[in-house]
Structure formats: C-alpha cells, structure tokens
Amino acid sequence: MSEWMRKVLENKRQMRKQIATLPFSEKIKILEKLRDRSLAIASNPLRRQSFHRG
C-alpha cells in the first residue's frame, strides 16, 4: 500500500472516530440525511432502469 493511500485510510478512520463521539442527537441528524440521500438515489429513474435490467 502506498504512503498516500495509508494516509487517506488513516484520515478516514480518524474522521469516523470523530463522528462517533458526536452527541446522539447530532448523529441522528446525520443518519436522517443519509436516509434522505439513499431514498433519493433509490427513486432515480436511471437506477430503477438498471435495476430492472438486472
């Protein structure tokens, strides 16, 4: 693994750790945004077409 990749992964790990320490209410707000995005992606007609094509 390259040094650059190692750095990226470490930063990602740190960010996840930082988010995990947020108050529950803050994390629920993030979770709500994630859910809204998942629903928006799922309702995209292009995605549905590709899904039906298998």
Partner: protein, 173 residues
C-alpha cells in the same frame, strides 16, 4: 426521528406498550458513526391476546391507525419513519430490552440496547451487515470485553464468536 420517538413514548404513556429499546442500525448509531438505514427497529414487550399465549401486535396497530398512521408491509410508518415493532424473540433479546440504557434525542427520552447486547444479537443473526457492524464495534474499542464475554457465555455464543474471529481476523486475533 424526534417526532417518531415522541409518538412511541406517547404509546408507552398511554399503556399500549411497555418498555422498549431501539436496536439495529439506529441503536448502533448511539455508539458508532451513523450508517444509512431506512427503518427503525424497536424491540418491545407486547401484551398477549386475552385467553391466548400468542403475542399480538394488534393493540399497537389499532392505536397507530386510529391516530392516522399507516402500515407498510411489516412496518408502521410514524412521522415519516418506517418502524418495525419486534417482540423479544429469545432470552438474549429480552435481556437486551431489559438492560437497555436511557438516552435522549433532541430532549426526547428514549432507550437503546447496550453495545454488547447489540453485538451479541448481530453475532447471532449473522447477516453480512451484522458482521460489518460487529467489526465496527470492535474497531471502535467501546465494547466492554468482560460484559460481552459474560453475555456470549450466558447465551452460548462463544463458539460463534470464535468462528467470527477466525473468519475475520484469522491468526491475528
């Protein structure tokens, strides 16, 4: 979700449900970074039907539909969130419900299962997403290993835990 929890709490104060505890991805969010989920798993003690030993969700459905909420498959949609009301299907889940910890979401009181119980339930369930969450719990370092050991031992999950370790950590664990 605040509004959803307010409705569930009202059900509790109206005597429709007893103690409840949030499990699944929302419960895990109390301890870990949030991960996308479309529903809320609420474990709750249900009343048994009069003259029967069968557990029934009917009072919950009746209450919610009379308050204008709709069902969607196995979910009740409460203030925009599909909520799955689940009876504690085994001793482990019953214990997790009993020992759930109290917290707040935007000043609304609620209960979530302990990290150790969530881990044990995920181990028992064993779907890929459960394994992924167990790995997140391990990586986070928040698990109380004595407490987890005790739960795993009590519910005969130690062998499964060993298998999990072998599968994901091989000789590293």
């Amino acid at each position: 979700m605040k509004a959803t929890l307010e409705v569930i709490n009202r059900m509790q104060s109206d005597g429709v449900i007893g103690k409840y505890a949030i499990g699944g991805a929302v419960g895990a969010t109390f301890y870990l970074e949030p991960s996308a989920t479309l529903d809320i798993d609420v474990f709750v003690s249900f009343q048994t039907a009069p003259g029967s030993s069968l557990i029934t969700i009917a009072p919950v459905c009746t209450y919610l539909t009379s308050h204008g909420y709709k069902t969607e498959g196995e979910y009740m949609v409460i203030e925009g969130w599909p909520v799955q009301f689940l009876p504690p299907g085994d001793v482990l889940t019953g214990e997790a419900l009993e020992q759930a910890i109290e917290t707040e979401v935007e000043e609304v009181r609620t209960w979530v299962m302990t990290a150790e119980h969530l881990t044990a339930i995920e181990l028992k369930t064993g779907r890929p997403k459960d394994c992924a969450r167990i790995l997140q719990f391990i990586e986070s370092g928040i698990l109380d290993t004595n407490r987890l050991d005790s739960i795993l031992s009590q519910h005969r999950l130690l062998a499964k835990w060993e298998q999990f370790g072998q599968r994901f950590f091989g000789d590293d664990k």
